[in-house]
Symmetry: C2
Subunit: 491 residues, 2 copies
């Protein structure tokens, strides 16, 4: 601390005061002269202190009035703690997610929902509906017999060409024939897991991970081995390496390297390369769910795990569901050495995808609007995530933690006082608000005090009202918990 | 025989003569006067004899020339023999169909195919492409956000309502909510089998059955127990009952009651009712593949097995793939007591179907054109099946047997001299003709001397040329076999 410049020390002092509530938002900061007097510092130091706090967003200047404390901002909320990466993993378990998720889904159906924050779903108006519809109409007019003609195996050639072309930007070198079109990324993950594993086998997954994956594992009779995952850098390759050496019989690893669901983490390239090489050495299939990579806030697309794949050990899966067309089920996969096997399983499971939607997508993607749309979508999501984060900062009680992902549709919130997310879920649903409780994202129970919030909706007054209400509920539950704890202590 | 009227006895005599080749096609029949003299019958009897033979299609009148023997017609070819229904079934086996089918598919890809007779696929021009396309365009214009909006679980309400309404005609009483929309009947069968059975379990199937089903069994690690199936009346309920009492652990039966693939048989209602009750008593799930029922040549739709279902033990599966839209994958299922389970498995496997194709189909089906189209399609297929059957009768050698189904897209042909279908497949493919060898339709090897021929193509000169060529090849192979047998006998 002493090594820091004086103005920074002073700024930190005021920051602590603001965080502690000693200086509340809307209150006037001491003037520059008052700072000089109170702390015996030079004019220059006092001015720099204010500028530092202003730059960081904690105070704002009002003309001819002085500096005022701003409401708590997204940056004031710390991230959830990193997991203990050195801890040996829990034993692999059969997944019992379905019963848990069904309970929440059932509850959701019983109540009238006015604010749906449980999905990872951007609002329809954020997608190029008109252009996509026109592309679909054009495709149908150009190929009028498409609905009554045999479907090409593995997918429409034009669509696969388009996908292969786009894959170059993420470092993948794929021929169109390397791409199998599937009913969304969900079918791709199903096929990948069926290709590499059988009932009773163990699959390493991130902890937490999205419940869709846990449901697939459960439905296929597979065991999940949860690997600690960093909020910032994604799957811990060290922890995975430890797991691989202590757990024989791990058949595959499933990873969401970019905008991990629900953490929002993005794996650094160095870790991605390590991961690919580790799995290749260990003879464990590496299944990459790359659904969100086009939603990363960056100038260029992130590099896929598949880009480092030398031996065909990486099964890359992706989809247009979150990026272009939530009303279509257009996914694809490149399964390396398992390509023939997944093609056979797909054929036996659902035959070939309809051509019409593939043509509509290819037609749209050829128009050049796709990248413009993605930039707009990313921008809108960035804005919406920011406002949701501000709302959490402003209305959720002290002790709340949350992620601030560099892209994507959701925020992962750690509740204060290790509040059970079920309690928040139940309170929220009585007010018509649906959230995703952390219990849905892991078999382990470690994330039962987290919730995932959808940032896909435009931040309207309704959303703001809902966030205030949520904050009140969480605060009320937290106070009850604290009170109980104090009572227990006294007794 | 003596009880028959004289003219019929005489007609039979001439029929035998024609079949034996004593009277060849193109030859002139004895005139009426000659018949009176040769057989000492009245004018009336002689005239009735000729009329009988003409009515049955064996002779035709040429003006001022007399009656001439017509080429052998479809009725001249006997059906394949019924299987031995009393024989206990073979032990249930794991299916090894994929390797076998892959071999044929691979061969098919290596050669240039000019005549594809291996599928069960009617030509695109037999489907209402224009009307369907317009319905799709209308659906898209009426619901412009359909491609970017969340998909309703279990299927689009309007489509499910339409399906429930149409199901009434086949005796099913279903609410729209009882219907789960799937990616074709193939996905429905997958889900049904996954719901009721796990790897290693035994499923009773018809023998022969379509290889798509055998592929599904193989991919799910299920064992197939093949039940003798009658060419005319379908699955032998007696044989199934025997199998259920001797094979514990049969989890389900999969049946195609109407226009069984490949036999073309149609189960009588009495047998269907027995089957449903047998499975209910035995606690074995009954999975009904009802893909072809709208292709049965009849005034009213056949009654589904599901119509007799009291306990929710019948899983009804169907599709629009063969009847309306070969370019779409629109199937559905009503799974009785397993409905929730199949819905969960579908959600975990492919989420929900796209809405757009469901709306297009519902839009078309509401137009009233569907039943008109089905009548036209049935008529066209009837004509095409008939001409294919005539061609087999005319060009395939003596000893050939075949089915003459009352509907549907294919004909099942038993080769003479128990010729291996592989040999015919290989010979045909060298001439650019693709057929479906019987080896693909069973695990048992019992149908290796059968082939299935697609009657979905308009009977053009090319098809006729191909059928003549096929007949020549089969004849040549048969002669070689006979020669070899004679040589063996002499040695």
């Amino acid at each position: 601390m002493d090594a820091q410049p004086l103005y920074r020390q002073l700024a930190t002092h005021y920051l602590d005061a603001i965080r502690a509530g000693a200086l509340r938002h809307g209150e006037r900061m001491p003037s520059v002269r008052e700072l000089m007097r109170l702390h015996d510092v030079s004019l220059s130091t006092a001015v720099q202190t204010c500028r530092e706090l202003e730059r960081a967003g904690w105070i704002e200047a009002r003309p001819r009035s002085g500096y005022f404390v701003r409401p708590p901002r997204r940056n004031s909320i710390p991230q959830p703690e990193e997991p203990d990466l050195a801890q040996p993993p829990d034993p692999a378990q059969y997944v019992g997610i379905h019963a848990r998720v069904s309970h929440f889904i059932e509850q959701g159906r019983r109540h009238r929902i006015t604010l749906g924050l449980s999905g990872a779903r951007a609002a329809p108006e954020l997608y190029p509906s008109e252009k996509l519809k026109n592309a679909a109409l054009r495709a149908l007019r150009r190929h009028p017999d498409i609905l009554v003609s045999a479907t090409p195996p593995a997918g429409d050639p034009r669509f696969r060409e388009m996908l292969a072309r786009r894959a170059v930007a993420s470092g993948q070198v794929l021929a169109p024939e390397d791409i199998l079109v599937t009913h969304g990324c969900i079918e791709a993950l199903n096929l990948a897991l069926r290709a590499v594993a059988g009932p009773g086998d163990t699959i390493a997954v991130e902890s937490p991970t999205f419940y869709g994956l846990l449901q697939i594992l459960e439905s296929l009779g597979l065991r999940a081995l949860e690997i600690p995952t960093s909020v910032s850098t994604g799957l811990s390759v060290d922890a995975l390496e430890l797991a691989l050496s202590t757990h024989p019989g791990i058949k595959a690893v499933v990873v969401v390297p970019h905008l991990q669901n629900p953490l929002g983490s993005i794996m650094p390239d160095s870790e991605k390369r390590r991961l690919v090489q580790l799995c290749e050495r260990a003879g464990v299939a590496l299944i990459e769910d790359d659904t969100y990579s086009d939603l990363v806030d960056a100038d260029k697309p992130p590099t896929a795990l598949k880009a480092w794949d030398r031996g065909g050990n990486v099964i890359h899966c992706a989809s247009l569901h979150k990026t272009l067309a939530p009303g279509m089920r257009l996914g694809w996969m490149s399964a390396g050495r398992w390509q023939a096997r997944v093609a056979m399983l797909k054929y036996a499971q659902t035959r070939d995808n309809e051509v019409w939607s593939q043509l509509a997508a290819a037609e749209y993607m050829a128009s050049g609007d796709f990248d413009r749309h993605l930039r707009r979508l990313r921008g809108a999501l960035r804005e919406q995530r920011g406002r949701m984060a501000d709302a959490i900062a402003a209305h959720f009680p002290h002790g709340t933690r949350m992620t601030l992902p560099d892209g994507g549709i959701t925020i992962w919130v750690e509740l204060p006082e290790r509040l059970p997310s079920r309690a928040v879920f139940d309170a929220a649903i009585r007010e018509g608000i649906l959230i995703a409780p952390g219990a849905m994202f892991s078999n382990s129970g470690k994330f039962d005090h987290f919730i995932r919030l959808n940032c896909g909706l435009r931040y309207s007054d309704e959303v703001d009202e809902g966030m205030r209400a949520l904050g009140r509920m969480v605060a009320a539950l937290a106070r009850k918990t604290t009170k109980t704890r104090l009572q227990v202590c006294r007794a």
